[in-house]
């Protein structure tokens, strides 16, 4: 089993180191190969996704990813900025299905800005399409405005689009995920305004015929943003496009108040995947040894479950994380009175020790 390990920028290297340590402690012999990505890729070879890094990711069975981005790259032209690496990996590896669970651990209920009764026990799964939509649609750019009251001026433009097969495959993924959970799927669209999402909705309704055991409903994206704030526990699985999924999955993650705990998986059609924490590179705390490594460690568990088919090891890691939380250890981002404050490395060590 070959794992491409791409630590990236900011806190990426610190948190990935802890996940690697946990993987090594499982007693399997993974082949782990490291490569620079994001700002680190740019420093190493002038591009956020160096050719050798992409090749490694393509050859591996799974990719463990830290995080990319730092203010110091903000002035680079867009094509060279760190986040292009993650877009490039998604596209080149065909990682069309992004799984973003938003789970509130009972021990961390106080961390949420929402009232405990609204979020305690929260366990929803957002499935975001990740290789289509306005993220990659062509044409795009800046041109002369061709018509209307601003004709002749410059205008910025992009193309939103979804092909039938693209919607079908993510719908299948979502229905199957719902079958394994509460059997309820909410498809989020903006069919009242966008042709793309009327098209999306019609296809989801069609695919539903193959999953009669799953209850399907449809919600406009603006309403979904409201319902996530109002009554998030009413959701089970949400499926939506790349752009709406970007916004809603971050909002859902923040409902828990502990985004430092949330893993994510981005899968292709064969369950090869890229695994990364839901949070960003946090350059403000990089190198201080205080970042929370648990989202990355839990991402490694997802990797074992989805790509490497080592379900038992995934369970071991997840149980170890629960045990560590129960024992009261907390990194500063999730610290509460009465707990024991620890750093990145101590937290990683505690998870290793808690593996049974």
């Amino acid at each position: 089993m070959k794992i491409a390990v791409l630590p990236g920028d900011g806190i990426g290297p610190e948190i990935v180191a802890q996940a690697v340590k946990v993987l090594k402690a499982l007693g399997e012999s993974f082949e782990m190969e490291f490569a620079p990505v994001g700002g680190a890729g740019y420093e190493a070879s002038g591009h956020p996704l160096p050719e050798a890094t992409l090749k490694l990711a393509l050859d591996a069975d799974a990719v463990l990813f830290g995080s990319v981005g730092d203010w110091k790259y903000d002035t680079l032209e867009r094509a060279l900025r760190p986040e292009q690496a993650i877009l490039g990996l998604r596209k080149n590896l065909n990682l069309f299905a992004n799984f973003r669970p938003a789970i509130l651990y009972p021990e961390l209920a106080g961390a949420s800005t929402l009232k405990p009764e609204v979020v305690s026990g929260l366990d929803i799964l957002i499935i975001r399409e990740l290789t289509g939509d306005i993220y990659f649609g062509q044409p795009r750019g800046v041109r002369e405005c061709p018509d209307g009251p601003f004709k002749g001026q410059r205008e910025g433009f992009d193309t939103m689009r979804y092909a039938e097969g693209e919607v079908r495959r993510i719908a299948h993924v979502a229905f199957q995920a719902a079958q394994k959970r509460g059997k309820r799927l909410t498809s989020v669209d903006k069919a009242n305004v966008l042709e793309t999402f009327q098209f999306w909705k019609d296809i989801v309704i069609d695919v539903h015929k193959e999953y009669p055991d799953v209850a399907l409903d449809h919600m406009y994206v603006d309403n979904a943003a409201m319902q996530l704030v109002r009554a998030p526990k009413k959701f089970d699985v949400i499926v939506t496009g790349n752009m709406f999924g970007d916004i809603l999955s971050d909002a859902a993650a923040m409902l828990t108040g502990s985004i430092g705990m949330l893993p994510s998986a981005s899968l292709d059609a064969n369950n090869k995947g890229l695994y990364e924490p839901s949070h960003g590179s946090a350059p403000d705390i990089a190198g201080k040894g205080i970042a929370n490594p648990l989202a990355t460690i839990l991402s490694a568990a997802m990797m074992l479950r989805y790509s490497l088919k080592m379900e038992a090891h995934a369970d071991r890691i997840e149980n170890a994380v629960k045990a560590v939380l129960a024992s009261g250890l907390r990194t500063p981002d999730i610290f509460e009175e009465g707990c024991v404050k620890v750093g990145t490395e101590e937290m990683g060590n505690a998870v290793v020790k808690a593996l049974v």
Copy 2:
């Protein structure tokens, strides 16, 4: 002063009736002319925005709008569905600047799903561009996918676009609104992915030169959705495009837990405007006499302030609403133990009585 009154569907007629009653009680002689819109427009003349209704709105000094939509129109083809009326009014009246305040009245702090310390005293203003973006961009539709791995299949597509002048004028509106408030403006974009919003960001930065007294910052839309949940009080004024504004303004409204209280204004370049509650037509409670009319009454106050230049009357209405809340009257949507539950009409009467 001529006001076009468009009650619409669902609870629209009931809540608009209360706002009209309050306007009449001010002691001015407004000319108010009623016309059907939305589902009611479709019933009356086969189109959600009948020609006579549009003409009335174009001729009037301001438009007071209730709400449109009902499940029974869901099966109509898109062009005939109620919400097309609101899109048509925005476009034909050039209502490019949408003001959506999210204010938490101290008396209603308990209604929020967020912890009191996170939202008490919340007072933010979202300014959403309302006539551009992917809402109206052409081309759009369903076509044969021209390239890529899904070539030859059907695909749905839309065009996101913003011309320079469109961004400039909404930026001016936003900077000027910020000058009248806390002098802080957050421009929300997705410049790391979308050409349209890199373009948007560059122009906002340029317009900022004319408003050196306003502090400007930029935030990606996914992060903005998170920060609204994490620390909404950190915002003062937010400006963003039509699509992102649709999502964020609804999320912000729901933070207050009392969307039945929130008015909105949609203005053209000369401060002619359409005024409507932020909530929808709520067909489930229509006709029961329990809908909260306060958002519509407060929308009428915004109309007096922005379009009719009757600031003193606007203050009178807003103070009357505050007095009624302080006296403990509540419609069911905002009811709490210890308050007095009233219906739509009683609430409207109470506001009239509280006018001083």
